[in-house]
Amino acid sequence: MLSRAADSLFWMARNIERAETSARLIDINLVSMLENFDPDIDTDPYRWESLISISGNKEQFYELYEQCDTRSVINFLAFSIENPDSILNNIVVSRENARTIRGMIPQELWELINSFYLKIKEYPSDQWEIENIGYFFQMVKDQSIQFQGIVNAMMSRGEAYTFLKMGKYLERAGKIARILDENIHHSIESRFAKEVIEHHQWSSVLHSVSGYEAYLEMYRSAIEPDQVMEFLTFNKNYPRSILFSVERLIEAFDEMEQDKVQHYNRDLFIALGKLHSELKFGTIREVLNEGVNSWYHNIQDNCYQIGNLISRTYYLGELDVK
């Protein structure tokens, strides 16, 4: 297929995934804030700041806004035109990508993305209230789920589908690593006991990837940081774990290359293989021993490299003149 078309499909999938992830994260944060758990935690700038690190850029945020509070953070992460990773921009980009490859996606998928875009454009982004902004994030989640549903139910498993798959799972793998990294990163000072804080924090992490029930099924009882990390990193059955995402990514690569490794895709094949081994054969014990932050940093780097390799392998490729 046209390199440019593949590029559009890849980035369309990444952007939709990115928007959904942001929506979920912000929503959970908002809910727990509204539940008024601990005033110290609620006004804890780290809480919102860590979100900004995951879905945006701290420096840019502080250039645009005077203080870090609920309103400014949500404006930045959801509606800001200046933030290239705001939900608004994610969807604008997705829609432009979709327009470019209209002929390759089902008509219903185009209509869905188009209406998603119109809904976001029409939302009164300067007049929202904390009580009802939740509806906005719900809308984003719903539209994203519909997107996945249409792709799943209506697209032939050909090249177009495969590039969507690559984009989605690469984005997911990197983002989960980022989220885990951020959550381990800071410790919160509070008058409550450490276990209680951790329970609350890591429950939120699970809720934000809709993994709370799935986690309980496996681990029962307590929400412990190590176990949550293990679940979201090494579990091969849960769709929002890093291992699961990387395995889907490799599947996509195999489908694309029909299981043939050639000189032009070798680097990508190797990078994927190495990342896969780390996840397939690693344990949470090893991660803790090595140091969690540097381990997850590594994963994110690998994802970034794989992104570059995908670009090289399929968009510029080898200039083969026969």
Binding site: M1, L2, S3, R4, A6, V92, E96, R99, T100, R102, G103, Q107, W110, E111, N114, K121, E159, Y264, Y314, Y315, G317, E318, L319, D320, V321
Partner: protein, 477 residues
């Protein structure tokens, strides 16, 4: 709803002068009469929404870069043409396009017709669309025209006349299909009692014709549609056609030329392209040959074409044959190449470089239509009977100063067709653009785009100026 339908002067598609519907419109007439105003309004609305929802629109960009989508308004009273009438139109169109094709092959080759003085040499070689770059082309089937759009009107006697030829980049084909889909979806019952010729199979004819026009009769040629991209207002047309015909949609930046061959940048490397159905004007096609600042084209494309390694359709330089100034010579062109009289006639046209004709036109300018030779989109046209004294004077001066830049024609009262407006059904002027596919077997797509001037009394049907579209039915019995 139709009891008060008034026929102004001129030919009405549905109603005879007696006040009765023509036989091929009887069933529709009956049905429309049974609709209530509410019916009509709500279904009309439904039709417009279905276009917008499907994204069949062109984008008008404002300064916020988030454009507004507009669609071509759709009217649900179809333009119906009985079989015999259409058969004659088909023959006439194919005859005309064959002659124009022969003309193009000749003027870019031996120029016999110019030597024989049938067409003034000056008109051709000094025409801004004449491309010296393609002298002695070696096109597959000697075909310069893949898809032509020939605009037809009917005069007050109901005779079909050729209004204009479009041999470069005729647009509107996707609307032909969208209008039919809309009719079927929103007004299915209108089809009862009619056997309307299907247009579904036309895409395969388009594909076959493209295949047949591959260079050196290459089998299984790779065919692409070259579009200026998403910011072009006809982009939907391009993407729809590419998808339906089954060819890849590309932009200039997806192609490159190496060793005089054209390649497409794919995820598996470079793949050679054999046929390019281009929807980019000549000017922007190749920065090495035409406008150097064009970002839409492909450097070296024309050279690859010259080398016989890629077919470019419609051919480069076709503008010399659909020129308004050449239009009056087309009947002679038909006789010259085909030895036949034209089946379809031109609208009478005054050539203003001829002093006698110019004199006549200046004197009767308030009865005539004056058009610039190189205009499009319906702008800068003088409709004498509707124009102010001021405008008439401006055009008089223009004609005196630059007679070669204009032509004049009598004001034809285009035929009218009942059209749904706020007050109910009223007669609005229409024209018809059928599309001719010139493969090894020339074909005319049954029907074509009927355009309607939505404003009362207006004769301007272009969508950029408020024109709408109607479904066109060719009857099969």
């Amino acid at each position: 709803m139709l009891t008060n339908y008034q026929i102004k002067q001129g030919y009405d598609e549905m109603m005879k002068a007696s006040g009765n519907p023509r036989s091929h419109y009887e069933s529709i007439h009956q049905q429309l009469n049974q609709f209530t105003m509410e019916d009509c309004k709500s279904r009309h609305e439904l039709a417009q929404m279905s276009f917008l929802r499907r994204g069949i629109s062109f984008t008008v960009y404002d300064d916020k870069e988030q454009g507004t989508e507009r669609t071509m308004p759709f009217d649900f009273v179809p333009n119906i043409i009985p079989r015999e009438e259409w058969s004659r139109i088909e023959k006439g169109l194919i005859q005309r396009v064959r002659a124009l094709n022969a003309f193009l092959e000749d003027v870019y080759g031996e120029q016999q017709i110019l030597h024989d003085g049938i067409v003034p040499r000056d008109l051709v070689v000094n025409n801004p669309y004449f491309c010296h770059q393609i002298a002695q082309p070696n096109y597959a089937n000697r075909n310069h025209i893949f898809l032509a759009g020939i605009d037809l009107i009917r005069d007050q006697h109901g005779e079909y006349l050729i209004l204009e030829d479009n041999l470069r980049n005729p647009s509107g084909l996707s609307y032909v299909f969208q209008n039919r889909y809309c009719m079927r979806k929103v007004f299915p019952e209108m089809f009862q009692n009619y056997s309307v010729r299907s247009i579904d199979n036309q895409f395969s004819y388009l594909f076959t014709a493209l295949e047949e026009l591959a260079p050196k009769q290459k089998s299984n040629p790779r065919i692409v549609l070259l579009s200026p991209g998403i910011f072009n207002s006809a982009y939907f047309d391009h993407s729809f056609l590419a998808q339906q015909i089954g060819i890849e949609l590309v932009e200039g930046r997806d192609l490159l030329v190496q060793d005089r061959k054209v390649y497409m940048k794919t995820t598996k490397g470079l793949k050679q392209v054999d046929v390019i159905y281009r929807r980019i004007d000549d000017e922007y096609l190749d920065p090495l040959e035409f406008r150097a600042d064009s970002m839409l084209g492909v450097p070296g494309l024309v050279d690859a074409n010259r080398a016989g390694n890629v077919s470019i359709l419609n051919g480069i330089g076709n503008g010399v044959a659909d020129d308004k100034a050449l239009y009056s010579y087309v009947p002679s062109i038909i006789r010259y190449y085909l030895n036949e009289d034209p089946i379809l006639n031109n609208v009478k046209t005054y050539i203003l470089t001829d002093p006698e004709q110019r004199e006549y036109v200046l004197e009767h300018i308030n009865e005539l239509v004056v058009k610039p030779v190189d205009g499009s989109g319906g702008y800068d046209i003088l409709i004498g009977p509707h124009a102010s004294e001021e405008k008439l004077e401006i055009f008089r001066q223009n004609i005196i100063n630059k007679p070669h830049s204009y032509i004049a024609q009598p004001t034809i009262s285009l035929s009218t067709c009942p059209t749904f407006c706020n007050e109910g059904f009223a007669g609005r002027h229409i024209d018809l653009r059928p599309f001719v596919i010139m493969g090894k077997t020339p074909r005319v797509i049954p029907g074509g785009l009927t355009r309607v001037a939505l404003k009362e009394g207006s004769l301007i049907v272009n969508s950029s100026q408020g024109g709408g579209g109607k479904d066109t039915w060719i009857l099969d019995y």
